[in-house]
Symmetry: C2
Subunit: 208 residues, 2 copies
DNA sequence: GCATGTGAAACAGTTCACAGCG
DNA sequence: CGCTGTGAACTGTTTCACATGC
């Protein structure tokens, strides 16, 4: 299949494959079969082949995949290589941790703006970036070419924060707030809820 | 249906429903229909009814669900109410943020132990808890009745950390490390990868 | 009368297994 | 000959639509 839309569940696995290929490149591996790639990624080989087929990707029959070429295709699909400006909204403990997270830079993400509403926090510098006021978001987004937002605000502030980033032109948002959010038109939202993850794990723990 | 195993995808929505019911209780609402609950949770009403049916949950036909009763059932399934001790493995920025995260306590999670390998960090106090050495994990887990672990270690250390927490008796683990991990027998693992989430969002951004 | 709970239908995702190509 | 790419079978999930019972 050629590159029509990638199914959602496949999409969540592409970054995993990309990471595996980064490793292989680092180790000088030139070619890898679907069985080898799948083992490193923790999935079935048939699933990996099916996933890659959605990208219109080409391996060589009898040989496997060219590591460098496949890596390039995945990076292309995920927009790695293009610089992606990120704004962190909400500079509490979690916001600081995200702003300081070293794992973003190698994947092309750069935290170029931080905003908060607390006057005690606005004006301070975190991870080399001065914290701006939430009201300045539209200007910061435009000036610094922000394309993604990370919401690390309290739950009660999350909907307003989402509306604000959407209004300022950001179309991709990752929220850490424990809230169901109404998503403005044209915005892609993903949510991570740490307490919810722990509750899901709790389900498997012995009761009482 | 009565309480057989809850399907995985249903399970991920139960904490959302639990949150919605918390809100309704706070606002003094006594009864709610599947349409109302589903709207607040951001899902379809049929899906919510199907999900709840897996719990063997009982609403009243023609009326809806008793908010307090349904909340109690969900809390029971997710183990809320039972105190859950959590150990945070890796006391960097993210580990500190998790340890200080106020959203855990209302859901019954208590960070009772922190461990790291860095001698500069071991012995310091974070969020009111003294940081222990990774080598002390088995003792800390036993003494403080830890049932869940959160891994906030660098990717390269994640597999060792997972093996260590599993060996110390923890059976439920939430990892923030950007790595595919081999899961020891009997352990439930969930993973959150912030950079991967941003990459998934990047897929939807305009290219080049 | 009205909203639940659930068969049945529709849809989506995964795995099997092999034809076909390098 | 070995491995990809993919039809076909299968498994799981969501949605429909309505009989049932409060």
């Amino acid at each position: 299949m050629t590159s029509t839309a990638v199914p959602p569940q496949t999409l969540t696995r592409l970054p995993v494959y990309a990471r595996v290929l980064d490793d292989l490149v680092r180790r000088g591996v030139v070619t890898a079969s679907s069985v080898e790639l799948a083992a490193a990624a923790g999935v079935e080989s048939a699933q990996l082949r099916r996933d890659l087929s959605h990208l219109g990707s080409y391996g060589k029959r009898g040989v496997g995949y060219d590591v460098a070429e496949l890596r390039a295709q995945l990076r292309g699909a995920l927009g790695v290589g293009r610089r992606r400006g990120v704004v962190v909204v909400g500079v509490g403990n979690l916001g600081r941790a995200v702003a300081s997270y070293a794992g973003l830079v190698p994947r092309g993400f750069e935290v170029v703006a931080l905003v908060d509403v607390d006057p005690q926090v606005v004006g301070t510098t975190v991870a080399g970036v001065e914290v701006g006021d939430l009201a300045d978001l539209p200007r910061l987004v435009a000036e610094r070419e922000v394309s993604l937002a990370v919401l690390t605000v309290p739950g009660a502030a999350a909907q307003d924060a989402l509306d604000a980033v959407a209004a300022s032109g950001v179309r991709s948002v990752l929220s850490f707030a424990p809230r169901a959010l109404t998503v403005p038109d044209g915005v892609a939202l993903r949510s991570v809820d740490v307490a919810a993850e722990l509750q899901i794990l709790s389900y498997y723990l012995p009761p009482v």
